[in-house]
Symmetry: C2
Subunit: 255 residues, 2 copies
């Protein structure tokens, strides 16, 4: 079993070597800029680790894992736009629109999303791409709630963050060929990850759950979410040591 760091390096190499559709021409430059910002690659790493725990080599799961990262980055490129979050910085660099202009950023996001589907469609089954579409729609619905404002933070996070984390597990199951009848415990695990990630994010950013529950209260919630994820993982009939390490890392992360 590969360590999370080894899986992370596989993701970076795959993304760096990824051939984009030639018809996109020089738009590819802005897409690569968005992709190469040095994110944590948490979703694709979870996807690869799930696939390996389910018996699939990373080579088999990498297109699905990369598709998740492209969808994540498409959402960041569009969310950063002036008309949405108006973020000029992303991971310490100018955001895509700040670097290339708004028009290019709109198109770069559109193309990242379409390329994500192309990758998800490299499997013999439609299942991988169908789940990606479902998760992407959920994420967009969450972003809509976010810009409209909502009192239901749990629903917002379940959509905006949770859908793509759950899909990180779900896509791996389809890519690895795990029969639907055996997927339930895996998916129960995947459903816990988005909330864990979000609470820790809020602790690091001092907003969201920290505002509603205080810093200590948010820490308790994060630890509870991590504990639930570990419990779910124990119900998965496979060697899930690497996934457990990822959960502990998500709970303890400091950036």
């Amino acid at each position: 079993m590969r360590t999370p760091d080894e899986l992370h390096r596989l993701v970076e190499t795959y993304l760096a070597d990824l051939a984009l559709t030639p018809e996109l021409g020089e738009l590819a430059e802005s897409m690569r800029y968005a992709l190469e910002g040095g994110g944590k690659r948490i979703r694709p790493v979870i996807c690869l680790a799930t696939g390996e725990a389910a018996g699939a080599e990373p080579e088999v799961v990498l297109p699905a894992a990369a598709a998740l990262e492209l969808v994540h980055n498409f959402s960041l490129v569009h969310d950063d736009l002036p008309s949405l979050d108006n973020d000029e910085l992303r991971r310490g660099r100018p955001s895509t629109w700040a670097q290339f202009g708004e028009a290019i950023a709109v198109l770069a996001g559109d193309a990242l999303l379409t390329e994500a589907f192309r990758l998800a469609l490299s499997y013999p089954t439609t299942a991988v791409a169908r789940e990606l579409a479902q998760a992407t729609n959920g994420m967009i619905g969450g972003q809509y709630l976010d810009i409209q404002g909502t009192d239901d933070l749990a629903a917002l996070h379940r959509l905006k963050t949770g859908c793509l984390f759950a899909a990180s597990v779900g896509l791996a199951l389809s890519a690895a060929g795990v029969p639907e009848s055996e997927q339930r415990p895996w998916r129960a695990f995947g459903d816990e990850l988005g909330l864990l990630f979000q609470i820790v994010d809020d602790i690091l950013d001092e907003d969201g759950y920290v505002l509603s529950h205080g810093r200590d209260g948010a820490r308790v919630l994060a630890d509870e979410a991590a504990e639930r994820a570990h419990v779910r993982l124990e119900e998965v009939p496979a060697d899930t040591a690497v996934l457990a390490e990822i959960v502990s890392g998500l709970a303890a992360r400091t950036s």
Copy 2:
């Protein structure tokens, strides 16, 4: 064989009844607004007519046809944005961003694209969605050329307009189950449609080919494109009378 008008009504009914992904919530309102602007539905009508000529009932081809219309409308919603074409009007009404704001329009476009893939993924094969992804990437590449400016108008139109027209034929073949070995003449026909549409569009708008070739010169080009499409159609071993009627309608359209 159904007439183009009958096929058009099938498309309108299908789109009006289309259930959007529930997680999109009230974002659906802006998506329906964009979809219900009364466009000509040329791409889905070509798709249904191709499918019927190839022996498939419209019911079988409608999800693919609607997916094309959703991609077309996603592109209009994003192209109309202030940072791109800055169009406040679309088909005589406020464009989606002018009606709902820029942020909603960005998300509505994203969701229309994702829903298009969901529809294309309702087939047992990945072929329909793979071709949709390829055509969408080509279209986005064309839009990129358009906003960057290019001397190669033919390349621009082949991507921006031609890809989705060619896919209107291509998706129907996959949806109808036409074997790849029999698709060549159909696809040769599909490759002629985008240019025909574009030249007539330029004649109606008095730009593009009218600026480069004059009004009479553009009319000659349009008639030649229509003639090539008819010739290609004669090489298709099927009853293509409805498709021929559509070609003649495209050449003679006045709006």
